[in-house]
């Protein structure tokens, strides 16, 4: 039974949307936040656990120094103030995926505060920028994973029991919370998406996480409220979880705006609640309602001592920050002379890094773009994976570009080589050798094939002699067939026509 939705245009006319985004980043550290267990994804259940992350009686946490460093890097990249002194705090609540039944987090003393991120997004009037203010960046620990068994839907309601795997419990989690982003009008969904995308790129560029939304190393909770336009009255916000892709961020925000609008128009209150986003419908449903709001009873974590990062160290980290992704994109755009739309296409297809790396190997930028955005992106889409997960590297593509430029491959043959590399047959030269791919460009070989074709199709040859050049196609086709497509078709045409008096 779905809830009524207001038409989006009407929502924008009547209300100002206010956004809040909470992003959790799972760090790619070798070991967990408070213990030395490995963090490798996909291990057998409960094999990367120890007394600490299992919350066994007597166990104690000790902070991972790399996690502190990563948090500071993220904070600096987001222009935050780094606290000279801060503490961890216990957030107390009971849930079976949280072994201690409290989460070690930070409460009123986060490590980073007061930052901002300038976010670009596309509007009807071109690219615009909005400054999203960052409230805080803090450290905490991830929970275990529960598998719900029984019940008709496999989701929690109606499940007979649950099975818990604590491999993920204790993996470092960095929480980044924005301040309320005021009125972005109809672009609220796009702004949200652009913020998350830019944040993802920044975190990735820092090398502290692989930030893959589909694997859960980047998670987004979206908060939305509507304020009647011009009233200055803040609306009640809802929080939406389970937003697992950039596209879902956009859809979830839009959907919530429409849902809030419908309720307000009908004179109903918007409940302050946590909702669950559904990929299939693009809509949200309420989470289980709680009788009373949870009281987390925060207090400073007594098993850990305060964190007081040395000022000189912070400056060293600041100096080590890589080029901001937006600046890098601007630089590449200018270097390559490429329009915005094509830049966006590369960013959206997730191939910008790959193109740059290919160019770094010596390939022509346009050719590099052509392959990554063209053939390779097409194959990635077909397989429903990201381009950078295909087994083809910038080195491979650069080699193919080189071979085409040298005339050792035609475009058509190059495509075969690319397919071969992606199929796992090896590097381009290996594929070429194994498949016997060779441009036949030796004139005498080609001439021999051409003469055989003419002998096979004398009528077509006669037409060409008489000026009906289109008839050459059949003859060229024969030559291509005989050479198993390895002849350079353009060259064949040239030789054929010349031979037949043109």
């Amino acid at each position: 039974m779905s809830e009524p939705m207001m038409d989006y245009r009407e929502v924008i006319e009547k209300y100002e949307p206010m956004l809040g985004l909470e992003v959790h980043v799972e760090l790619g550290t070798n070991s967990k936040m408070f213990c030395g267990c490995s963090t490798i994804f996909g291990a057998a259940p409960n094999t990367q656990v120890c007394p600490v992350c299992l919350g066994l009686p007597g166990a104690l946490p000790v902070v991972n120094e790399r996690a502190i460093e990563a948090t500071i890097l993220i904070g600096l990249a987001l222009n935050c103030d780094i606290a000279p002194w801060c503490r961890f705090a216990r957030k107390n609540y009971f849930y079976p995926d949280m072994p201690k039944n409290f989460q070690i987090s930070q409460y009123d003393e986060p490590l980073c505060t007061n930052g901002y991120l300038d976010v670009e997004f596309e509007t009807d009037e071109g690219m615009q920028t909005v400054r999203v203010e960052i409230e805080r960046v803090h450290m905490e620990e991830d929970t275990g994973k529960s598998l719900h068994v029984g019940g008709s839907t496999g989701r929690i309601h109606g499940a007979d029991y649950s099975l818990l795997d604590y491999n993920r419990a204790g993996i470092p989690l960095i929480e980044i919370v924005t301040k309320m982003v005021p009125d972005t009008g109809k672009y609220a969904p796009e702004v949200a998406k652009a913020y998350v995308a830019e944040l993802r790129d920044i975190v990735r560029s820092l090398g502290v996480s692989d930030v893959k939304m589909e694997q859960g190393s980047l998670r987004c909770d979206a908060n939305v409220s509507l304020s009647p336009r011009g009233s200055g009255i803040l609306g009640t916000r809802s929080e939406t979880k389970n937003v697992n892709s950039l596209r879902s961020v956009e859809r979830a925000i839009r959907s919530e705006m429409q849902r809030h609008g419908a309720r307000l128009a009908a004179g109903q209150k918007v409940h302050q609640e946590t909702r669950h986003f559904h990929e299939d419908t693009g809509l949200t449903t309420p989470g289980r309602s709680k009788e009373t709001a949870e009281d987390y009873r925060y207090f400073p974590e007594p098993d850990l001592v305060p964190v007081a990062p040395d000022a000189a160290w912070i400056e060293k980290l600041r100096a080590s920050l890589p080029e901001r992704p937006s600046l890098r994109r601007a630089r590449l755009k200018s270097d390559w002379g490429v329009p915005d739309l094509e830049m966006s296409a590369m960013v959206n297809a997730g191939v910008l890094d790959l193109v740059e790396a290919t160019v770094a190997q010596g390939a022509d930028p346009a050719r590099a773009r052509g392959w990554w955005l063209g053939e390779i992106a097409r194959i990635a889409n077909e397989k429903e994976v990201e381009a950078n997960s295909l087994p083809i590297t910038p080195e491979d593509v650069a080699r193919v570009v080189e071979l085409v430029a040298a005339g050792d491959l035609t475009d058509k043959l190059a495509r075969q080589v690319i397919e071969g590399v992606i199929s796992g047959e090896g590097a381009p030269d290996v594929v070429i050798a194994a498949r016997g791919i060779k441009v036949v460009s030796d004139d005498s070989e080609l001439m021999a094939a051409i003469e055989r074709a003419i002998a096979a199709e004398p009528a077509a040859a006669e037409k060409v002699r008489n000026g009906i050049l289109a008839a050459a196609g059949a003859l060229i086709g024969l030559v291509m067939k005989e050479t198993k497509g390895q002849a350079d078709a353009a060259k064949v045409r040239e030789l054929l026509l010349a031979h037949l008096g043109h």
């Binding site: 299992l54 849930y95 079976p96 929690i156 007979d160 029991y161 818990l164 305060p306």
Partner: protein, 99 residues
């Protein structure tokens, strides 16, 4: 200062996930009422200019390097489990919302 009520104690029992009986709630209400009066004395000297101490010794920045150390085996991890299945801890159905 308001004392602690039965409702308070019942609510606290829920927060602390302890199924308190009516008798226990009665007893605790009375005992905690007395204790709270006694401990409330701390407010007499807890003035605003006194900072709180959360750690007896002024240690800071105790960390460990990001190095992998041996974990327990699956058998060891599950050794105390009241119930397990498929190498995981088996627990009754969870009603509460996912955090």
């Amino acid at each position: 200062m308001a004392g602690i009520t039965r409702e308070d104690v019942a609510h606290l029992g829920k927060l602390a996930r302890i199924e308190l009986s009516e008798v226990e709630i009665d007893q605790l209400t009375q005992q905690l009422g007395d204790i709270l009066v006694a401990v409330a004395r701390v407010q007499e000297v807890a003035s605003a200019d006194v900072p709180g101490t959360s750690h007896p010794l002024p240690l800071v920045n105790v960390t460990r390097p990001d190095v992998i150390r041996p974990s327990l085996t699956n058998e060891q991890a599950l050794s105390g489990a009241p119930s397990s299945e498929q190498e995981r801890f088996k627990v009754p159905q969870i009603l509460g919302e996912e955090a």
